[in-house]
Symmetry: none
Subunit: 136 residues, 4 copies
């Protein structure tokens, strides 16, 4: 039998609240999503004024980070033309996003879920995601 | 120019919190989603233990209720074989759900968003959605 | 060589304007779409307050009517469980709608395009589509 | 409650009429689409002789511009290999277009909808879209 540790709803809400706080601080409304250890969405929120096109992207960034236990920023660097994972974004029914803003969330070195943030520049999304991930 | 009133994030969170309370009361973990006046997701949460297949369904029920300003239960009754909207579930890029659990949310007779609930029987989903919708 | 007679943009606009007039008369905001002899969209409009879920449906009703040179109402009657075309709504990449509101538009007995209307009951959609189709 | 200002049908028609005028002036038949503040289509027209493959593209360009409050030209520049949004075109159920011809439409600095133009070269689509957007 395997025992899988995973984020629960309460933790997902805390992570989102922390990320939201950072987004307010930098003045950029965001979409923020958290998935569990199975890559499935636990919670999502879109701050007032955040891009509607980023709803889907935040959820997919979170999925992607858990799907490969890697930040979407790092995956993206490895998925450019000529790089080792080029084309990976066509796998997994278009759920793969390969730019910054998605981060695995770990506990004792184990990935227990992931966060995805979308709504600003790549740097902003990354900053907000890092803040959320660290809040646990 | 049209002026459209829409739920905001704060209201969406309140609606979800109320629906969650009802779901706990009836002992059935649920997925709960709220969309804005444009049909776009504002917030979603999956309670611990709720079906992962219901993530998508809750979001689509909320969209459907706003898309046609009707409960998904009533739309479903009108979409059975031989009824006036039979086949409607094939429209809108598979975002249409035609069973109970989705409700428009109104303010002063105007639809300002919608809630979608999925995770239990049709009756349970409907009850939780109604409780959430009324909480506003 | 075949010569295909088809509605042009000017005619499509006239048909839509006539249908819109009827929709206003019956007090039901509608989505109205017109396709050409090739089944491809010429023009679409959504009246203020019309359902957003009906954008797609109006366009698909128009396509369906031209695809089979038949009203979607009549096609729908033949596509119920047990009837000769049951299952047809799964063909053509989900572009088939099988309820009232789509009508072929003819000139000298030849189909030159089609109109699709969505936004009310089946009877209302049908009435507005008929008015638009006759306006040519 | 949020109050969202959005283009209405009358304004959408004016924008399309202006864009059409510019398209005639440069001698290139176009598809022209306008979406509201929620990203949902208000109106579309295809000028006689315009590409049928551009129906879908014009609608998607308009959606994309509203989804991210940016021109599709600028988004496209940021979505090339190695750039910060590379891969974004796989989000949002294939509704993202990342080449010129889509523009947000603003009123008092607020995005109230968007226009999408397709039927010519990137420069032509852009020129027609700009003319339409400015007409408001």
């Amino acid at each position: 039998m395997r025992v899988i540790e995973s984020l629960n709803l309460e933790e997902a809400k805390k992570i989102i609240a922390a990320a939201e706080k950072k987004a307010i601080e930098i003045g950029q409304p965001m979409n923020i999503a958290v998935v569990d250890a199975g890559g499935n969405l636990i919670a999502h929120e879109r701050m007032d004024g955040a891009w509607i096109g980023s709803i889907d992207i935040s959820i997919k960034k979170a999925f992607t980070s858990r799907a490969f236990d890697i930040s979407t920023k790092e995956l993206g660097e490895n998925s450019q033309p000529g790089k080792q994972f080029y084309g990976i974004h066509l796998s997994n029914q278009e759920k793969i996003m390969i730019f910054a803003g998605g981060l695995p969330i770990k506990k004792n070195g184990q990935v227990v879920g992931a966060i995805g943030v979308s709504g600003g520049s790549g740097d902003q999304d990354q900053e907000v995601a890092e803040y959320g991930a660290r809040s646990l």
